[in-house]
């Protein structure tokens, strides 16, 4: 069964540095998402992306964050000037259409900011 893949599985970075989290969505899916889960807490929506542009973003997704689909397969989340509170599990997800469809999640990238 096709799946969403994310790399790296764990990223350790010094505070203030930039990180890029990578995702390969399911190939025939058109909608892509990033979510964040702080340890022991609920899954929080960050951003949705369709047709090479952001379709919706949350309050968390401020100027520190950006997303890009640099080619036909990858979908990246860039976090600039990382802060301690950015430490979390970041999940990429994709769906075939925008709503009323299951979202398929990757295994996540655990981001640790030191």
């Amino acid at each position: 069964e096709p799946e969403v893949t994310q790399t790296p599985s764990h990223q350790v970075t010094q505070m203030g540095q930039e990180v890029i989290l990578r995702c390969v969505p399911i190939s025939n899916h058109l909608y892509f998402y990033w979510y964040r889960q702080i340890l022991g807490q609920k899954v929080e929506f960050l951003v949705s992306f369709y047709n090479n542009e952001i379709s919706e973003k949350s309050e968390i997704f401020d100027d520190q964050f950006s997303v890009e689909r640099p080619d036909g397969s990858n979908f990246t989340l860039k976090i600039r000037s990382t802060k301690l509170e950015d430490s979390a599990m970041y999940f990429c997800a994709s769906s075939a259409t925008n709503s009323n469809q299951p979202q398929h999640f990757g295994d996540g990238t655990r981001l640790s900011i030191l």
Binding site: Y31, Y33, Y35, Q41, K42, V43, E44, F45, S48, Y50, S55, E56, S58, F91, S95, T97, N98, S99, N100, Q101, P102, Q103, H104, F105, G106, D107, G108
Partner: protein
């Protein structure tokens, strides 16, 4: 902002006992999805409910959507150790973008 309240936060049961988690919203939901996250894993889609009063079953799991479409529940009959994990309800927060608003989740522990 939009919120989906989920209770209880934790539930410990003996294997073979039943388990139920509840989701409530102050606003009418267009649909609700349920996900399961195993410890250390990622959310995995279980089911989606769309119609008022809808009931769907998957083996020992029964999902309900309230008549007013403001609440939903997941009931597991005769729990097994493989049911361990956190169960999240999620509201489709926007009709156009697919944004999901997750509840706080209910973490189920099953004692063998």
């Amino acid at each position: 902002g939009q919120q989906v309240m989920q209770i209880p936060q934790y539930q410990h049961v003996q294997e073979g006992e039943d388990f139920t988690t509840y989701c409530n919203s102050s606003t009418t939901l267009s649909n609700i999805q349920w996900y399961k996250q195993r410890p250390g894993g990622h959310p995995v889609f279980l089911i989606q409910l769309v119609k008022s009063g809808e009931v769907k079953k998957q083996k020992r799991l029964t999902f309900q959507f309230g008549e007013a479409k403001k609440n939903s529940s997941l009931h597991i009959t005769a729990t097994q150790t493989t049911d361990v994990g956190t169960y999240f309800c999620a509201e489709d927060g926007s009709s156009n973008t697919g944004k999901l608003i997750f509840g706080q989740g209910t973490t189920l522990q099953v004692k063998p």
